[in-house]
């Protein structure tokens, strides 16, 4: 299953490394990353494949959210379908 991870918050050193290591430890494959810093806000969007994920989607979501909170970031993981449905006919 493909999912979108979004990371939004204040830019600090090591955000990408941190998120990627959580994903790697859970067996989630990163397919694409786009990242930009708008004003001082860091915005990263990742397309990931959760087919090999060793924990449940809910657990992964909670893990990312918790890590985000610790670093002052808003980290979400959502199934890709929702964006497709809303923005493509």
């Amino acid at each position: 299953m493909k999912a979108i991870v979004t990371v939004i918050g204040k830019d600090t050193v090591g955000i990408i490394a941190n998120v990627c290591s959580i994903l790697a430890q859970s067996g989630v494959n990163v397919l694409d990353i786009s990242q930009t810093v708008m004003r001082e806000y860091f915005t990263m969007i990742m397309l990931v494949d959760t087919a090999g994920c060793e924990i449940s989607f809910a657990e992964l979501s909670e893990l990312l959210k918790k890590d985000g909170a610790e670093h002052g970031l808003d980290i979400r993981i959502q199934r890709e379908d929702i964006f497709e449905a809303m923005h493509r006919i």
Binding site: I4, D32, I45, S61, H87
Partner: protein
């Protein structure tokens, strides 16, 4: 690939503009639960609901987590109890409401709709028993919602039922200190697949079990309109339509997913702009964004007509199964902007009545003085039913005559039901009008002017 902007836009809608799935409502037929012994009947009802809806709440929560979209309510609607329990050999239907309440608590839903009767053309014995039990049922239970359909375009208005419902609303208010009336809706042209409470019931033409989804998003529409300030109504209509399209697509996706996981057919997506008391989740704000100083000002009806129509157009493009009430709700107590306008006297019941000609339902969640006579409430119901009957649309009345309160007081209903200023009602008496009884005939459907 979806672009960054599209992803961020969706996230902004959810995190800042209150975009949510307002309800996943499972409709369950109770037509096989009737039994002469009311105890047996109650047992069958409880068993069926707890069997069919046992995974509803968990499934809703799972979908919520995976899609990252809040699903605010999980609810159940059932066959109108007056139909399902007609064969019960009892004068008292209140125990059936208690069984519904227990089943709702067991499966974890916050409301269960269907303590209902359809009496637009007349009463059966079951209908009369059910209506008689409404005040006690709504006082004794926490989660049960009740509705009575008193009129339709094809049948006309049952004025005997209108008279009775005025008294039932008064009695319910007295017994429950007003709270019960927030769970009681009087309809004209009630729809069979509405997922929104308090008016939801599982119509007799519906399948055994079905999943309907209600989507909301006044905040999203408001925010979209803020970006087209000062532009023409063509642009306004187009903007609302596009926004409604996106919101409905999301609803359809969630509905299909819920249907697949629960193994229950998907019914409809109801795209209704349903406000909540939260700041930024208001239909009044949308109308004011179109250029009105306050909702209730001249121009409000036109603004609402545009909004209601554009929402439907966007919705039907997005899903082939749009149904329910679909449009804009204008409850007073559940909308911060409506509360503000009503408290300042800029929004009156008369203006709200005009607005119901073009919105998706009717006079909703309006607190009136506790000493409002029953016949005045009946006459308000009759007016509203007439609007629905003639215009071939659903209309409804959810008035709350709050005991001991008068104009200027404020009443708090708690949670999503919000709070409302007590609004003045025209004091001229319709007593003799309501005393006539009988039926207002169905209207002619040609010579339209």
């Amino acid at each position: 690939m979806i672009t960054t902007n599209e992803i961020l836009e969706t996230i902004e809608m959810i995190s800042q503009q209150h975009l949510d799935i307002r309800t996943i409502t499972m409709g369950i037929s109770l037509r096989d639960c009737g039994h002469p012994d009311v105890k047996v009947c109650c047992g069958k009802i409880y068993d069926k609901i707890t069997r069919c809806a046992k995974d509803l709440v968990k499934t809703g929560e799972d979908i919520e987590r995976e899609f990252g979209i809040p699903i605010v309510n999980k609810r159940v609607s059932v066959t109108p109890v007056a139909v399902a329990c007609e064969c019960c050999d009892t004068e008292d239907y209140a125990p059936i409401a208690t069984a519904l309440d227990r089943a709702a608590a067991e499966v974890g839903v916050n409301f269960i709709g269907g303590f209902s009767a359809l009496v637009q053309k007349g009463f059966t014995r079951g209908d009369r028993r059910l209506i008689r039990a409404i005040p006690e049922a709504l006082t004794a239970t926490e989660r049960v919602c009740s509705s009575v359909n008193v009129a339709s375009t094809r049948a006309g208005i049952n004025m005997d039922a209108v008279a009775i419902m005025g008294r039932v609303i008064k009695r319910t208010a007295e017994m429950s200190r007003g709270q019960g009336c927030a769970k009681l809706v009087v309809f004209c042209n009630a729809v069979e697949d509405n997922p929104f409470m308090a008016g939801a019931f599982h119509g007799v033409g519906e399948p055994e079990c079905v999943v309907n989804v209600g989507v909301s998003g006044p905040g999203v529409v408001h925010s979209a309109l803020q970006k087209v300030k000062g532009q023409s109504f063509d642009v306004v209509a187009e903007t609302v339509k596009k926004t409604a399209f996106r919101v409905t697509r999301m609803g359809e996706l969630v509905a299909q997913e819920a249907s697949r996981r629960l193994g229950v057919p998907f019914g409809i997506v109801d795209l209704s702009l349903a406000p909540t008391p939260a700041v930024g989740d208001s239909v009044a704000d949308i109308l004011e964004e179109m250029g009105l100083e306050s909702v209730g000002a001249p121009g409000t009806t036109a603004a609402l007509a545009l909004l209601n129509d554009a929402v439907k157009k966007g919705g039907v493009m997005a899903s082939s199964n749009v149904g329910g009430l679909s449009g804009a709700f204008i409850p007073v107590s559940e909308d911060a902007g409506m509360i503000r306008a009503a408290a300042s006297g800029k929004l009156t019941i008369e203006k709200l009545e005009a607005m119901t000609c073009v919105c998706s339902v009717g006079l909703d969640m309006i607190a009136v003085p506790g000493d409002t006579p029953a016949e005045t409430i009946s006459a308000v119901i009759a007016d509203e039913a007439a609007i629905g009957m003639i215009n071939q649309k659903t209309t409804a009345v959810r008035l709350i005559p709050v005991p001991g309160k008068t104009v200027g007081d404020r009443v708090d209903f708690g949670g999503l039901l919000g709070s409302a200023p007590v609004m003045p009602v025209n004091p001229a008496s319709p007593r003799d009008f309501i005393a006539r009884g009988g039926r207002i005939p169905a209207p002619i459907n040609s010579l339209k002017n």
